[in-house]
Symmetry: C2
Subunit: 334 residues, 2 copies
């Protein structure tokens, strides 16, 4: 594992994106998002994901030079067409639009059809929180999870992000509806480790912590069993219905052809009704109640969603972004 300065990573990725046809500004933004994702410790969706992202550009799943277009607007609600543009740039623009609608109407909502994988879901939550807004967004995905009571992958893991601004550290929840991703299952298997909790069914239909058994059955667990299964279904329904876009069951099972997904972006402002110190105090008091509560293991402290990200971000900013040599060599050769 090497470590490279943030700026060098961003510069290198931007150069690749420019060669692929991105304008300089869009190349710089796209590269920044990948670098920030690695910087925040989400290594699956940062630099390591870049080669697959490039593959989806080269195979035509992602169209680099398109921007989303507004299809319909009614008050605080808008419907946009992502035109199969880059999922991360589209999502950034749509959360910005939801923030603008929220400034105007108290709450804002954008439904986006025909977009692409937005890489790290949490990015758009941090974006909202850094602007001082509550942000809620989700995406549907290709069918990668069996519904509760089902043996076949027909629902998505549909990542959901809920972000709450807080001057002392934003609270950003970024959760897929599967307990573990296939990437995580693979990591555990390669390390020869069992999962910390049941992660799916084996081929005999028994719950198991064995990552390889779940990879063989293609039956990872939804979070909360029947509950996360239901949540995945309604998130898909709302995104596809509001955007008039594709639903999970219509998307390709092949990751590099998982294009034209549907997404939702909501924003609201705690101070929509006027300057309000109360909301920030409420946020701080909730976090304090967590920090001051008794931990399950002595010497540890209960953490809020996003807390660990701040620590990793500071560390990676200081020491440089961790980069796998093989991945970096592949990117440099692009």
């Amino acid at each position: 594992m090497h470590r490279l300065p943030f700026d060098e990573v961003q510069h290198t990725l931007a150069a690749v994106l420019s060669k692929l046809g991105f304008t300089p500004g869009r190349a710089a933004t796209g590269a920044r998002l990948f670098a920030e994702t690695t910087c925040d410790g989400v290594y699956t969706h940062g630099i390591n994901r870049f080669p697959r992202y490039v593959a989806t550009i080269r195979n035509g799943s992602v169209i680099v030079d398109t921007e989303p277009r507004r299809i319909a607007a009614f008050g605080a609600l808008e419907r946009w067409d992502g035109r199969r543009g880059p999922g991360n740039l589209n999502a950034l623009a749509m959360m910005d639009r939801a923030l603008a609608l929220s400034r105007e109407h108290g709450i804002g909502c954008v439904a986006l059809a025909n977009t692409n994988h937005w890489m790290r879901a949490g990015t758009y939550g941090w974006q909202a929180a850094e602007a001082g807004f509550i942000g809620i967004c989700w995406t549907n995905t290709m069918p990668n999870l069996p519904p509760w009571g089902g043996a076949e992958r027909v629902i998505g893991n549909n990542p959901l992000v809920v972000a709450v601004p807080r001057p002392g550290g934003h609270v950003v929840l970024d959760i897929a509806m599967s307990q573990f991703s296939y990437g995580q299952l693979e990591s555990y298997r390669k390390r020869g480790e069992m999962l910390p909790v049941d992660g799916g069914f084996d081929l005999e239909g028994n719950l198991t912590r064995d990552p390889g058994a779940i990879e063989r059955s293609w039956r990872p667990l939804p979070i909360g069993y029947w509950k996360g299964s239901g949540l995945s279904i309604v998130l898909d329904m709302i995104a596809a219905m509001m955007a008039l876009g594709k639903a999970t069951h219509q998307l390709s099972h092949d990751p590099v052809f998982e294009h034209s997904v549907s997404q939702m972006f909501l924003a609201m402002h705690p101070a929509a009704f006027g300057p309000e110190p109360g909301a920030a105090q409420i946020a701080d008091a909730i976090i304090a109640s967590l920090h001051n509560s008794k931990p399950a293991s002595e010497g540890r402290r209960v953490r809020y969603p996003g807390e660990e990200t701040l620590r990793i971000r500071a560390e990676n900013r200081k020491l440089g972004l961790p980069v796998e040599p093989a991945v970096w060599a592949e990117i440099q050769a692009m």
Copy 2:
């Protein structure tokens, strides 16, 4: 177990509510909500819950003759004060208000402070869906769940409802952030049964399916472990911050003094931009993809959230509402 006609149940409960000071209209509505909840098969929050509801009126937690008051409004977003009124009537009024805001602005949102337990969460999802709207609402609760990594109950199980209208059967998800409620743990224990999946920790800190062991440790599991714990935290933050109301850590641990909770109500319309047959077709196609998928057990069918409710509702409407004689005698003596 007796069965009584829906109208007789509603009439009896309404008479009790009238004696407690409800106006005739509010008594009838409150009684209807309890009867409908039992009719839909949510026996924990219907007739069986009525005596505890009455106890919270008698002890002053719930104030019968108050209605919510609007505190602030900005476009599609409003803040209301529930004035410690009856939680179910307050919630019904606030979802109605969110629907009205959505008609005007495409999406509508109400944050409600100082309200009370809304009984069955799903009620307000069915309300939105029956009006043709997508409805999302949640409440915070007293601290009844340890956060992930914590040993002490400082977060709530904060029920979340997501409802999607569909002419062929609304899709209504109603999930608490705990895998099992204390009521469910008690039921399993009394039947001498183990939980179908791990439901919490025992006193030694091991995951267990033993309901009694979890009751002793007060450590039920959040859905999806760390994921549901995080979701509970952000739902509490948003409700308390937007409503300027109380957060979970400020609420009583005693169920009959769990007053002044904070809630959120969101509504949006799939046809906000004009008549739109596409959304209903998308909904039907998603449900068809579930129904047509391979079940985990032969002869069963994958169900969508709310599907079973329709079957139970029809059965209980036809046969009468199931009533426990002891509970019914208690209510008749009120």
